[in-house]
């Protein structure tokens, strides 16, 4: 063993490493993208990462950035691992990021208390801590467009309407298949509350994280209990496995509902039998909108994207686009509010609070009908937007309902309790000092 060579090699490696930290120009806005193209969840992560990156890259190529300022995009690979996510956060912190989107509840939680200290707003789009919808308590955290409680109330409402009114749910059984983690357990209190109000019965089927791909015991119980409806709160490989098991155990697929995370691949896992599987969604699928065509033209065709051509317009790709749409809108709004071109994290926080996506603005952006209207305010960082139901027809997702309004009252009760609880458990949780902007 040659120590000399080894130590020489190490010394060279350290020198090279120290001398080469990427620098960013001052006349650009730095947007780090936390992505997970590797690891156990890469199957969904790659689509999302491509969508997020390509939309912002398209703005760079087509419009020269936002408001004439280029966006400095940089991906940081988290592998959906909290450890690496926190490392990513530390590595981007010094470069004045205007927003951070952790794309994992596990990474979001440690960042929540840091956001206000480091002055970096956090956009956890429909995941993370639901209580952070309260802008008065969490001024730096944003989780639009809906919380999991909103999602649950929408699914129950939709089922109720199918039965001919929520009161018809009396005596029915609803099975709840969920990931046995904070994410999957969050809607349970609301579901129980609704069960009490409308007189249906709830059966829980928890799936431990390590058993995501092996759900035979849960589906055996489903077969025994024969619940009238099944609702799923899953992520990653759990969704595909559940669809497969549901088909195998002969569960009627048209009575199987999911929150907004399954992808095309998950539904496809069930083969032809998966037809009728339904899920909530809040944006359109497909690539025939002007902005998405621009992505094709300016980014994908020029070879600036990692995405294969046909992945543009898939469900999770568009989810990534939606995420970037919010980032871009927040930056644009911040520029309008402050009059500055190169905005900071503090400005973008204000911009985020004043996002107003109405049909007119969406049309202007080339995304007409991409999603419903959405508006964030100083106190409401979520907007509790309606989502619609879509159904798998064997090859693609088909929108089958009008937007469903969440049950605001019940959700509000859950939200307030959780936010109060969080603030109480954290004595010394800072009071909001950031001023509110007047609604423009």
């Amino acid at each position: 063993m040659s120590f000399r060579k080894l130590s020489l090699g190490l010394a060279v490696a350290t020198l090279v490493g120290g001398a080469a930290l990427p620098a960013f120009a001052q006349d650009s806005v730095y947007v780090p993208l936390f992505t997970y193209r590797t690891g156990p969840f890469a199957g969904s992560g790659i689509y999302i990462a491509d969508g997020m990156h390509d939309y912002l890259q398209m703005l760079n190529e087509r419009d020269g950035g936002i408001g004439g300022v280029k966006l400095a995009l940089e991906e940081c690979e988290t592998g959906y691992d909290t450890k690496k996510g926190v490392e990513c956060y530390e590595s981007v912190k010094g470069k004045n990021p205007v927003v951070v989107n952790p794309w994992s509840t596990g990474i979001t939680l440690p960042l929540i208390p840091r956001a206000s200290v480091d002055k970096i707003p956090i956009l956890s789009m429909a995941y993370g801590l639901s209580a952070s919808a309260r802008g008065d308590i969490f001024p730096w955290i944003f989780n639009p467009p809906a919380t999991y409680w909103d999602g649950m109330s929408m699914i129950v409402k939709y089922i109720g309407e199918k039965e001919g009114g929520l009161e018809k749910l009396k005596g029915k059984t609803i099975g709840f298949l969920h990931l046995d983690a904070a994410f999957g357990k969050e809607p349970i209190p609301l579901l129980n509350e609704l069960a009490k109000t409308y007189g249906f019965e709830v059966k829980l089927y928890p799936v431990a994280a390590q058993d995501m791909q092996n759900q035979s015991s849960q589906w055996l119980s489903v077969r025994r209990d024969r619940p009238d409806y099944m609702i799923m709160w899953g992520w990653g490989s759990m969704n595909g496995a559940a669809v497969k098991e549901a088909v195998r155990s002969g569960y009627p697929m048209d009575k199987f509902y999911s929150v907004w995370w399954p992808s095309e691949d998950d539904a496809r896992a069930g083969g032809a039998g998966a037809k009728g599987f339904k899920m909530l969604n809040w944006h359109s699928v497909g690539a025939d909108l002007p902005a998405l065509k621009d992505i094709q033209k300016h980014v994908v065709d020029k070879g600036l994207s990692k995405a294969p051509k046909d992945s543009v317009g898939t469900l999770l790709y568009n989810r990534g686009v939606y995420n970037s749409l919010l980032i871009a809108e927040a930056i644009a709004t911040a520029q309008k509010l402050t009059g500055k071109k190169v905005v900071t994290g503090e400005d973008v926080r204000r911009g985020m609070e004043n996002i107003k996506l109405d049909p007119a603005r969406l049309k202007e952006l080339g995304l007409e009908g991409f999603t419903g209207g959405m508006e964030l305010t100083c106190s409401d960082h979520n907007s509790h937007s309606p989502a619609f139901m879509q159904e798998w027809d064997g090859t693609k997702w088909v929108k089958i309902s009008e937007p469903i309004q969440p049950m605001t009252e019940q959700v509000r009760a859950q939200l307030d309790a959780a936010a109060k609880d969080y603030a109480e458990k954290n004595p010394g949780w800072p009071k909001r000092t950031e001023a509110c902007d007047k609604a423009s």
């Binding site: 940089e74 991906e75 450890k83």
Partner: protein, 361 residues
Amino acid sequence: MFYREAGQYKSNYKADMAIFPLREDKIGIGVIILAAYSLAFLGDSFLLQAVMIPFLVFSLAAIGLNILTGYAGLLSLGTGAFMGVGAYACYKLMTAFPDVNVIVWIFVSGFFSAAIGALFGLPSLRIKGFYLAVATLAAQFFLQWCFIRIPWLVNYNVSGALDAPLRTLFGVPIIGATATPQTRYLVVLTIVVVLTWLASNLVHGRIGRAWIAIRDMDLAAELMGIRPLQTKLLAFAVSSYYCGVAGALLVFLWYGGAEYDVFNINQSFFILFMVIIGGLGSLIGSFFGAALIFIMPIVLGIVLPAMFSPFGISVGSDTIEHLRFMIVGALIIFFLIVEPHGLARLWQIGKQKLLVWPFPY
């Protein structure tokens, strides 16, 4: 030339048995500790928060596992869970008694972990080797199950996660979002230095010799009057104590909030790799192992793009990630082949060569 034994006379048994018998070694360790402390004032926040703090935390956990696996010869796969016990115990204690200084609770939380560790160490009297590893695997799954299912552990937090409320030491925040990386680092460093010093005294003393005797041949050790049950359970307790403290540091001084998933089986393997790569039965090996397994990927993440960019090749973050995996994996195999006794053995050989330098014999 500067590092030699000649001329240093040991005039009593104490000097002969010292952990650092050479003057140069004593100076060396002093310089290392001094450098570590001065890093708090020289390093930037990325270096402290994302590299040094986790490195020290993992080193402490590796010392814990090394006591059990390296010194007492008991294989354990429950490290992650024992770290979790420390973290959850610390959370319960610091929220139930907010007036007591949190440093006290960090040290006390280790005792909860020690108790749980000793409990799961009971089967070690009858089963050995791989079978014991499976038994500790049960501890890992059972405790992880507890972390998810017992909402009392997180004070009925809706998110089911641990959070780090503001805590101070001498009026300076050390836990919570307002704590600076510098203060966090100093606290972690001090705790790690103190506990390493304690561990060093333990393993070089009567208890450590008993552990080594049990490891090398438990039947012979028993005949010599070492009680296997007490010795093994003590190894489990001390090991879990270190892991527990490391777990508390991990959640409160590094992450500042965490989900149960942090303490999963992967964490256990992560620490086990550090111990094996670093060197079984060596304290300094625990630090080497933590450095190789934790810091190496970070360094590669910075070095690799810099190495490609002069050639005009821009590589995506995912490619870097794949390269990191491959290079670290290859390095692990490389080190295991050239030196199966771990990096600590390399260090020892290096020191010996220096002692006789410039003459080879």
